[in-house]
C-alpha cells in the first residue's frame, strides 16, 4: 500500500529531527562542519581585524582556516624529520609551568634560553597559556597547531622581532613562508591594511623580502625541539636553520629616517 502523504520519509525526518554532531576526537574538540567553519572564519576575521587585541579570535581564525591539506602537509614535514617525529611522539607542551623563566635568565649570554628570556623581559610578556586548539578535526593536526602556537614566542626571540604589530606581521609572513599555515598568510596580507603608509613601506622594502627569503629557504622551524636547544648559541642555531637576523625594528622606528 502506498504510504500516506504525510508520512513520507522527508516528513518523518523533519518530525524526528534532533541536532546531532560528530563525537569529539580530543579533549576540548568542538566538531564543526564546513559551513560552521566558514562562519567562524568570517566572523572571527572581521571581529579581530577591528579589534586585534582579541587574541582568542585570532586563534579561532587560525583553526577555522586550517585547511586539512596544508595541516597534513605540515604534519608530514614533521614526520619526515627525526626530531619532528620525536616531538610528535612525545607531544611536549610549552607553558609557564613547564618553562622556568627565572632559570633561563641565568643562562650564558647569546644562548637561546637567555635571548628568549631577555626578549620576554624587553617586550614585557610571559609564556601565558596559549588558547587550546578546538576546531581542528584531527587530533594529530590539532597538536601540530598547538605546538606552532606555543613556539611562536621562540620564533620572535630567534628573529628578534618585537611584539608591536609591525613585528607581528613581519613574523607572520616569515611563518607563512616556512609553515604554509593559511592564517599566517591571511594575517600577513590583510593586517598591513591597518598600518600607516610609512610602516607599510618598511614592511614592503625590508621585512617582507627578508621574511619570504628566509622563511622559504630555512629549515622548518616546527621541527626544532626548543626545550632541548635552550643552552645552544643562538647564532649557531640560526646558521644551522638558515635564518638571517633582520634589522632591529624598534631601532628603525626610533631613527625615523625619511626613506625608511
Amino acid at each position: 500500500m502506498r504510504p500516506l502523504l504525510n508520512n513520507t520519509r522527508a516528513i518523518r525526518h523533519i518530525r524526528s529531527y534532533t541536532y546531532k554532531t560528530e563525537p569529539s576526537k580530543y579533549p576540548g574538540h568542538v566538531p564543526t562542519n564546513c559551513l560552521q567553519k566558514l562562519f567562524l572564519a568570517a566572523g572571527s576575521g572581521i571581529y579581530s581585524f577591528f579589534n586585534p587585541r582579541r587574541g582568542d579570535l585570532i586563534a579561532t581564525l587560525g583553526e577555522a582556516t586550517a585547511l586539512p591539506p596544508l595541516m597534513y602537509r605540515l604534519r608530514d614535514v614533521m614526520l619526515s624529520d627525526p626530531t619532528g617525529r620525536r616531538i610528535l611522539r612525545e607531544r611536549p607542551r610549552i607553558t609557564s609551568k613547564t618553562l622556568d623563566i627565572a632559570a633561563l635568565r641565568k643562562y650564558p649570554a647569546n644562548t637561546v634560553g637567555k635571548v628568549y628570556s631577555e626578549w620576554l623581559d624587553l617586550e614585557g610578556v610571559s609564556p601565558d597559556t596559549r588558547a587550546p586548539v578546538r576546531y581542528i578535526d584531527d587530533a594529530e593536526c590539532a597538536y601540530v597547531m598547538q605546538r606552532y602556537r606555543e613556539c611562536h614566542d621562540f620564533y620572535h626571540a630567534i628573529t628578534g622581532l618585537p611584539i608591536i604589530i609591525e613585528g607581528e606581521i613581519a613574523l607572520k609572513m616569515f611563518e607563512f613562508a616556512n609553515t604554509l599555515i593559511p592564517m599566517t598568510g591571511i594575517g600577513a596580507v590583510l593586517a598591513p591594511l591597518r598600518l600607516k603608509p610609512k610602516q607599510r613601506e618598511r614592511l614592503r622594502t625590508i621585512y617582507f623580502p627578508w621574511a619570504i627569503k628566509n622563511g622559504a629557504t630555512a629549515k622548518p622551524l616546527i621541527n626544532v625541539y626548543w626545550e632541548e636547544v635552550l643552552d645552544r648559541d643562538v647564532q649557531e642555531l640560526r646558521d644551522e636553520l638558515g635564518i638571517e637576523k633582520p634589522p632591529d625594528l624598534r631601532q628603525l622606528r626610533k631613527l625615523k629616517i625619511s626613506h625608511l
Binding site: 516528513i11 523533519i14 518530525r15 529531527y17 534532533t18 541536532y19 546531532k20 554532531t21 563525537p23 569529539s24 579533549p27 576540548g28 568542538v30 566538531p31 559551513l35 560552521q36 562562519f39 567562524l40 566572523g43 572571527s44 571581529y47 587585541r53 582579541r54 587574541g55 582568542d56 579570535l57 579561532t60 597559556t129 588558547a131 587550546p132 578546538r134
Partner: protein
C-alpha cells in the same frame, strides 16, 4: 563560597575574565560535549545524599556539581547578558517579556492592597523593572514591591547597578537624591524603603522568604537551570499566599516540525558562534542552548506545575513565537 568552589573545581579565580582563557578552563575541562546522549537525568535515589546525577546541557553531572557549573556560566555571561539576549533572540526577548508582564497585569487594584512580588532567578532585573513600571504607570501603584532573588551574586550585581539609575533605587540613594529633585517628583519615590530589593537565594529553598508571603512569583528564563525543578515548584507553592500566582516564562518546544529544524540549526550553529565572537565564551552559550533542548515540553511542564499543587486554567500555558518560548501560569489553591 569562592574558596569552596575553587577547591572543588580547581578554578583559581572566580572573576569572569573576558579575554583570558584561564576562567574557561573549568568548563572545557568538564568538556561540555555536543553529543546528544539521548538519556534523561537519572533520578536521585530516595533518602539522604545527592548521589544522583542530573543533566548539564547534554552532559550528565553529579547533582551537587550542576549548581556550581551553572553558577560559572552565569558569572561569565553576566556582563554581556543583554547583548547576547538581543543577538540570540534577535531582540524578540523584549517582546516576550513585555507580553509576560502585561498578561500578569501586576498592580494594586482599587480598594486592594499593594502587591508583594518575588522574582526568582531574576538577576539583571529585566522583569522586576517592567513590573514596577507597569504597576506605577497603569495602576498608579507606587507601593508594590519586588524582591529579586538569584543564586548568582554577579547577576544580582548587574541588576543592582541598573536599579540605581531607575526611580526604584535603594532607599539610601533615594534620600541622597531627594535634595536635588523637584517637589512633585517626591511622590514617585518610596521614602520609607526601596521598592526593589536584591537577595542571593537558592530557588529550591528560598530560606529567607517566609511562607504565604508573596502575591506573585515570577521566574523568567531561569527555571531550566535549576538542578531540581520539582523542589523549586514546591518552594514556590510554599511562599505564595493562597490565591497567589505562579508565572514562568521559559524556552520550550517548538510545535511546528519544520520550524523546529530551522530553529535547532540556528541555535547550534549561530548562537555559540556569537558567544565566541561577542563574549569570548563559546562554552556558556553552548550550555544555554543545550539546556533549552533538555527542558521538558509544554505539556510535561504544565503537569509538573499541577503536581506541585497549583491549579491551572485550560492547558496551563501559552506559546510565544510558535513555541520557542512559553508562559506557564498556575494559581495556589
Amino acid at each position: 563560597m569562592a574558596s569552596r568552589i575553587s577547591r572543588i573545581t580547581g578554578v583559581r579565580s572566580m572573576r569572569p575574565m573576558l579575554y583570558s582563557l584561564n576562567a574557561k578552563r573549568s568548563l572545557s575541562s568538564t568538556a561540555v560535549k555536543l553529543a546528544n546522549t539521548g538519556a534523561d537525568a537519572k533520578p536521585a535515589p530516595n533518602g539522604n545524599g545527592n548521589k544522583g546525577t542530573t543533566h548539564f546541557g547534554f552532559k550528565d553531572v553529579p547533582e551537587e556539581e550542576k549548581e556550581i557549573l551553572v553558577g560559572e556560566v552565569f558569572s561569565s555571561v553576566a556582563k554581556s547578558y543583554d547583548i547576547m539576549n538581543d543577538v540570540m533572540s534577535l531582540g524578540i526577548h523584549r517582546l516576550w517579556k513585555d507580553h509576560f508582564v502585561s498578561k500578569l497585569d501586576p498592580g494594586r487594584r482599587p480598594g486592594g492592597e499593594p502587591l508583594s512580588i518575588l522574582d526568582v532567578a531574576g538577576g539583571t532585573g529585566d522583569i522586576a523593572f517592567r513590573m514596577l513600571d507597569w504597576a506605577s504607570d497603569v495602576h498608579n501603584d507606587h507601593q508594590t514591591k519586588v524582591l529579586v532573588t538569584d543564586i548568582n551574586p554577579d547577576m544580582l550585581g548587574e541588576g543592582k547597578k541598573r536599579s540605581l539609575s531607575t526611580k526604584y533605587a535603594d532607599g539610601m540613594c533615594t534620600e541622597l537624591r531627594l535634595q536635588r529633585i523637584r517637589y512633585d517628583e517626591l511622590t514617585y519615590h518610596n521614602i520609607e524603603g526601596s521598592r526593589i530589593s536584591f537577595l542571593v537565594q537558592n530557588a529550591e529553598f528560598l530560606d529567607s522568604v517566609p511562607d504565604n508571603s508573596q502575591d506573585l512569583y515570577t521566574v523568567a528564563f531561569g527555571i531550566r537551570n535549576f538542578t531540581n525543578i520539582p523542589a523549586a515548584l514546591k518552594s514556590a507553592h510554599r511562599v505564595l499566599k493562597p490565591g497567589g500566582v505562579f508565572a514562568c516564562l521559559e524556552f520550550s518546544k517548538v510545535n511546528f516540525s519544520l520550524f523546529d529544524m530551522v530553529y535547532q540549526q540556528y541555535s547550534f550553529n549561530v548562537i555559540p558562534l556569537m558567544g565566541q565572537l561577542i563574549a569570548a565564551d563559546r562554552d556558556s552559550y553552548q550550555y544555554l542552548i543545550e539546556s533549552i533542548q533538555r527542558f521538558p515540553d509544554q505539556e510535561t511542564f504544565a503537569q509538573m506545575i499541577r503536581d506541585a499543587g497549583f491549579e491551572t486554567s485550560g492547558p496551563g500555558y501559552e506559546n510565544l513565537t510558535m513555541g520557542i518560548a512559553a508562559i506557564h501560569i498556575g494559581v495556589k489553591a
